[in-house]
Symmetry: C2
Subunit: 559 residues, 2 copies
């Protein structure tokens, strides 16, 4: 794999400081002026003007008159009454998935199976005969009958074309008979794959619904995505991200092949934002990190130094591993996707390679297993320096809530998951366990750092929805009035910090991005409204007027 | 002093648990039902019904149907659409001062010296000849000329009657010539009292303005307040508190004489709320605590186990001790009211007596001295168990902000101070130091517990104003738009916790009050609106419909 530098953290940072300070000397300077610049820098929370050089390094912040005097020949950008904030960083998304969503049938917000079939028929019109019909985003909780669909629901409309439809959370898939036909192993009987489940009828025949690891049975047999499609998906995904004000994304699960696609884009300067890639499990990408050292592309927009693992499944499909059975399914406690000893082995391997670990954990058992494994691997000597993360950290036992902070474990959470799940989450786990769910404030109170994100395309890539959900805990209609479990709301400032400085910290990037401070990169957004001044209800309709990365616009609204 | 029990913390708590559980057995039970009960209990944040016995102990919380079934013979109180919350606790007020304010000329919000004189003339009509005319609440920052007034401003109107007028912050007083005449020592010359300042003109004559300890020169010579007046002031102050939804007050500076007045009221069951009294410095009350042990009245409404000290003065009068000179008075760095070695001596004495220390500190130097003294006195072995407090913790150096949490020091802060001071606070300390001022969020982020209060009568006793200021950092008109330093705003839940559970913790009372949990006391308020559901702008006009202490109404709105 080309482009890996033989370096560990210290060297990477040293190199970047040299690179950032080089162009300052005789550089062309831009002075940006705004109604208000929220820097997210504690020592100087606000400014009216910011100077940066044409290499994209911030030179100074302050009053307009002072900066114009200091840089009399500077190019001037005045955004008028607009507010400037650091570029938003989504600490957990799936860029290829976001791009692919545009190449797949969108089943989000379907209200019935009939609705699904109608969308599939429309989408299939443009597909060549025999090509797989891929879709994503269905959620049986949105349908009248609320139970899992079957292959039979699809077979009448699609007797020959394979159809494969991921659930909204990505933890279950619904296939037709043509899709199941590609699996070599007989899907009938009573066997189950490790960490997954094939749903079967009373006769032992598969119903067409596959949970977690069982999805691999079909997906590993599907025709592979070619390099061009991969690049196209990444480009589409990144474009969508910058249009929403993102200047950085932590891509939660990137294969070596995908990383190579990113590298080609980075070499061609075709990456509009920064991607912090996490290697997808104990595979080729992790091995490359262990062999060659932590990776950063010289252009500063691509990095891989983290590992993404899955401890369990999702709550919607009852795949999240719970300490006690589900409140609405007493025979089921969910699934651990990795055995504790396997989690220990891989986290130890990552630690020894200097690689940050970020593990998906939704259920209270999933989270406990991860905390146990992290505590074992990190030991008691400055565990916080590793900055290991729990992705989602969705439902925690009250006894585990205070365990993150002393380990320095970052909670990488997605505010919109709370507001998407709130109609049924308490059905799943009951009134006692729900108290430790989506518990942003309780985690903050225990000293845990929150890195915020969206989990796009599971949720919308739009970070405004995350800022809104974090501060209101309400849906788009403002319901429930006053918010769901309002005690766990964040302030607008905390929400913004979760999408900027604390997300940067979670990616070891707080010395370069996440706040607007001399020496850091000029990654920022221009907003018509001031997100810290308007009522939180207005955060979901903020107008993103422009997105800048390294001092250059990567998106500008057309109005 | 009667009523002191020979006990230390452990015994006091043991006794109170026995007392609280005694009446449960055959007690008359009340079931209260409401639209929503915010318990402030993490394990069960909300309920619809609460049962308590006629001893005032909470028996159960839950769904209405379940509690009515459990207590079929219970008296029923249904507050309809109203919301119930734990009774509010003001962690820093001055009850006698609040009551006395009704016995003194009110000079708050005077717009000029002429305005002051008019109010004094009106007030003096009811006074007997020769009686002192006392007033409080003036603030020269509200006047056109913004400099300190003089005795001459008063002498024409009051040539013979002594006039003594405290500044709004209580850290300066303005007297006329008749008032200065009672001081035996010659006030002319160039001498100054320790920890205070007599303002003098070019000829060395006193102008009539006395700062901090200099106020004692006049006040110690004034005729003493008699016992009847003291009791009357306490009763007036407590009545005003419960009318605003307070069920507890930490009285920040209570003399032995005042404590005795409280004890007489407690004996007569004439205390409508709980008072956590702090001994007023190294005097008779502290000596009594050291001699007789921590004090709690058997009725559960009066306690003294803390010591109030003053490290420095106030910001408005530039008496707060700063590490560097004031930005608007380069020759002045404020005043330390206690030398470091004196602070060490008294804090060590308090520690050895098992007494909690609560020290007023406004300036960054004042706060640093207190942290230094606390660190020295508490040592490194579980300092948090002492729960020592800094009162106001108003301006902290960035290096001191993170020092509170590891010492377990509680920041006892008054949200309305921020919104009262915001028009001029940055003039006093400049743009760099203002960042560490009124820094609620930064303190929370560092793990510090915030106990909230008002400092009444310096600010209004109305805790709704504190909830509003904490969540908006704006004045009554909502200005500045979006709030002053919005990054330090609290959520409504955090603000409510600061006025309930965390205030209770600051008074070692979280096992008895501060949240609604079986076994705790039924101290609660009934609010027309849900404070966690309405926009923060509505918090200042919440309707307090009733205040209950020990399960009995101590205030009910007349509508």
């Amino acid at each position: 794999m080309h482009g890996f530098r033989h370096s560990r953290l210290g060297q990477v940072i040293a190199l970047s400081i040299v690179a950032a300070s080089m162009p300052v000397q005789a550089a062309k300077v831009t002075v940006l002026t705004a109604s208000r610049i929220h820097t997210m820098d504690t020592a100087r929370p606000r400014a009216q003007a910011m100077a940066f050089d044409d290499g994209g390094a911030i030179l100074a912040l302050g009053e307009t008159a002072a900066l114009l005097k200091q840089y009399p020949k500077a190019t001037r950008i005045d955004v008028g009454n607009a507010t400037v904030a650091p570029g938003l960083i989504d600490a957990h998304g799936h860029v290829a998935g976001l791009g692919l969503a545009r190449l797949r049938a969108d089943l989000v917000d379907t209200r019935s199976k009939a609705d699904v079939l109608q969308r599939l028929r429309d989408f299939a019109r443009d597909l060549p005969p025999g090509a797989w019909l891929l879709g994503r985003g269905w959620d049986q909780n949105d349908w009248p009958e609320k139970h899992f669909p079957t292959a039979a629901d699809l077979d009448a409309a699609f007797p020959d074309r394979p159809v494969w439809l991921s659930r909204v959370d990505g933890h279950a898939a619904w296939g037709n008979t043509a899709a199941m036909r590609i699996v070599k192993r007989d899907l009938r009987g009573d066997w189950q794959p490790d960490g997954g489940q094939i749903l079967r009828d009373a006769q032992g025949a598969p119903t067409g619904l596959f949970i977690d690891a069982a999805m691999d049975l079909v997906e590993s047999a599907m025709p592979a995505m070619d390099a061009t499609t991969t690049e196209r998906a990444l480009v589409l995904g990144m474009q969508s991200a910058v249009e929403h004000g993102l200047t950085g994304v932590h891509d939660a699960g990137v294969s070596l092949t995908q990383l190579q696609a990113y590298q080609r884009l980075a070499d061609r300067k075709a990456m509009p934002l920064r991607v912090y890639a996490m290697a997808d499990g104990d595979g080729a990408a992790l091995d490359a990190l262990c062999r060659n050292g932590l990776y950063r592309h010289a252009g500063g927009r691509l990095e891989m130094r983290a590992l993404k693992l899955f401890a369990d499944g999702a709550l919607g499909s009852r795949g999240a591993a719970m300490l006690e059975p589900y409140s609405d399914d007493h025979a089921n406690s969910g699934l651990l996707l990795m055995k504790p000893e396997e989690l220990d082995r891989v986290t130890t391997k990552a630690r020894d390679c200097g690689v940050q670990v970020a593990t998906h954990a939704i259920g209270d058992r999933g989270n406990r297993e991860v905390l146990d494994a992290y505590a074992k691997a990190l030991g008691s000597t400055q565990p916080a320096e590793y900055r290991w993360r729990i992705e989602h950290a969705q439902i925690l036992s009250p006894t585990d809530l205070p365990r993150l902070a002393p380990l320095g474990v970052i909670a990488s959470m997605q505010p919109t998951h709370a507001t998407s799940d709130m109609p049924w989450a308490e059905d799943r786990v009951g009134p006692a366990r729900i108290v430790g769910a989506y518990a942003w404030r309780q985690l903050r109170d225990s000293g845990t750092r929150l890195a915020l994100g969206s989990d796009f395309p599971v949720e919308s890539v739009d970070p405004r929805l995350g800022l809104y959900a974090a501060t209101t805990r309400a849906d788009g209609d403002g319901l429930p009035v006053g918010g769901w479990h309002p005690e766990d709301k964040l302030t607008a400032f905390e929400a913004l910090r979760g999408f900027t400085l604390d997300a940067a910290y979670a990616g070891f990037a707080e010395a370069r991005v996440g706040s607007l401070v001399p020496g850091k990169r000029a990654d920022f957004i221009v907003l018509k409204q001031d997100p810290l001044a308007i009522p939180p209800a207005g955060l979901r309709t903020l107008d993103v007027q422009a997105t800048y990365v390294d001092g250059r616009p990567v998106y500008q609204a057309t109005r």
